[in-house]
């Protein structure tokens, strides 16, 4: 029995009269790579936003590392152990790669205004540690040689890698990945898959929201399929691809 890192209980979200998510529950277990798939309009992105805290649920609850976080603002969740990436990466373009990385550390003394004058030694020490860690992680994603360049020089694929490395600066227990394969060329996709597996091997849990069934099947041990805002099916990749209801949901009404 592995413990739950992230748990959603009966989450619902209505936008006006539209129920985007209807009583969805899921449990992300420590150490796994869980896939969340579903056809367009299934409510994946809303589910993601609910878990990340950028959208407040109409009802239901969320627990992160056993702590209730349902109504906690989005910016508190990283310190609580949950990081996220964006479907279209959002680096800070004018900041150097190194700064992009260092900013992601949580609980920095120097982020308090007065500490920069009252505790300069401590701020400096933390900065040195953050820099070492940032460089090591940039090394991991093969971006170290660009450490002092502004992030705007990166290609789309490199931005995805930077974003993954950046969120690791905060030592998250679980990372939500929003369609990591979207817009990535096949060669870089292999790099990305290898990176995710490597990071997962160090004990980081992933929840992967993805369109690309092939990538999900290769990465995940367990897949949750959503359709029309609710849970449709849950199982291993091979079970999912054989399940008639999933095929039907993807291919439309009469296919099964």
């Amino acid at each position: 029995m592995t413990s739950a890192v992230l748990e959603a209980q009966a989450l619902s979200k209505n936008f006006g009269g539209v129920a985007a998510v209807k009583g969805m529950s899921l449990t992300v277990k420590a150490g796994e790579i869980l896939g969340l798939i579903g056809p367009n309009g299934a409510g994946k992105t809303t589910m993601f936003d609910l878990l990340a805290g950028s959208v407040q649920p109409t009802s239901g609850s969320i627990r992160l590392m056993g702590q209730p976080v349902t109504h906690q603002p989005a910016h508190r969740r990283l310190a609580g152990g949950m990081g996220r990436t964006f479907q279209i990466p959002r680096p800070f373009p004018a900041l150097s790669l190194l700064e992009n990385m260092m900013i992601a550390r949580q609980h920095q003394t120097g982020e308090r205004l007065w500490a920069n004058f009252l505790l300069p030694g401590r701020v400096l020490g933390e900065e040195r540690q953050a820099r070492d860690k940032a460089l090591a992680l940039l090394d991991l994603v093969a971006l170290r040689r660009l450490a002092n360049e502004p992030a705007r020089v990166l290609s789309g694929g490199q931005r995805k890698l930077l974003e993954l490395a950046r969120v690791l600066m905060a030592d998250p227990k679980v990372i939500l990945l929003d369609e990591p394969a979207a817009g990535v060329n096949p060669a870089l996709l292999e790099v990305l898959i290898a990176q995710i597996q490597e990071i997962n091997a160090t004990g980081v849990t992933f929840l992967l929201i993805e369109h690309n069934l092939d990538m999900v099947s290769r990465l995940c041990n367990r897949i949750i399929v959503m359709a029309q805002g609710a849970l449709l099916f849950e199982g291993r990749p091979d079970e999912v691809s054989r399940e008639p209801r999933v095929v039907e949901a993807y291919l439309g009404g009469s296919a099964a």
């Binding site: 990340a52 964006f86 982020e111 205004l113 004058f117």
Partner: protein, 311 residues
Amino acid sequence: MMIDILGYGAFFLSTALIFALITLGLNLQWGLTGLFNVGIAGFVAIGAYASAILTTPDAADRIGGFGWPIALGWVGAATIAAAAAAFTGYATLRLKADYLAITTFGVAVVVQLVALNAQGLTGGPFGVAFIPRPFAAVQDQPVLFNFANLAVVAGVTLAVFLALERLSNSPWGRVLRALREDERAALALGKSARSYRIQAFAVGGAVMGLAGAVQAHFIGFIAPDNYLPTLTFQVWSMLMVGGSGSNRGAVFGAIVVWAIWVGSGSLTAAIVPGDLQARAASLQIVAIGTMLCMILLWRPQGFFGPRPRRP
């Protein structure tokens, strides 16, 4: 003659450095954080009136006149301006770009109108006079007086400059720059955009208020007319010329723009016939505007600004 020129030079530089202080405050808000504050004159006015009211001797027709020491008046001015700016920041949390600009502009207009009409507090259109000057004892020796003032203004500017340099390069400043670039990403990385926005407003406002107070004590008299939108325009030009995002640029831009402002003023005074003088004053704004256009064409990032984004 030589002595007079020296004295004038000191006077000129003191005024320019007070503008440099205001520009440093704006650089924190705009250059670092990307907050489009067009209410600069309002925060400068709040600082000036706050210190004036705190330090002037008791006056019969006005509230205040606490007779505090000048230094305490300045601390009070920075604190009160910071509080006003923090409140403005809080009230405008959901506004960005041009909407924020319009709102802050409105704040400045309100402050100016209060200064003009709340006669019992601000002296109304007559302003506040007899604001204690730091070196009143040597007032009859203009050169010494001007240099003493310059030393104080330069000291305050240097202290603020060094403090802001440290902040800009600190993790705190890094968060402000990140917010300027992408607020949503900063939120996802655990930074509270609300809190930092209010802090940036407050610190920038404190510097602007301090500048207003220093100027009030330097001149010895303030009136609502000192805090019209022209002031805001001047300070924005200074930051554009110097280079948004650079504290050095803020100081440099303030001195250059003030030199052009004063220079074009003297020039029109010298060549324009007396009966047209009042109208010719607008030529100063034309001169600054023309220079701003030239700078933006030739060096859009200003003198010290970071290289612009590649298209």
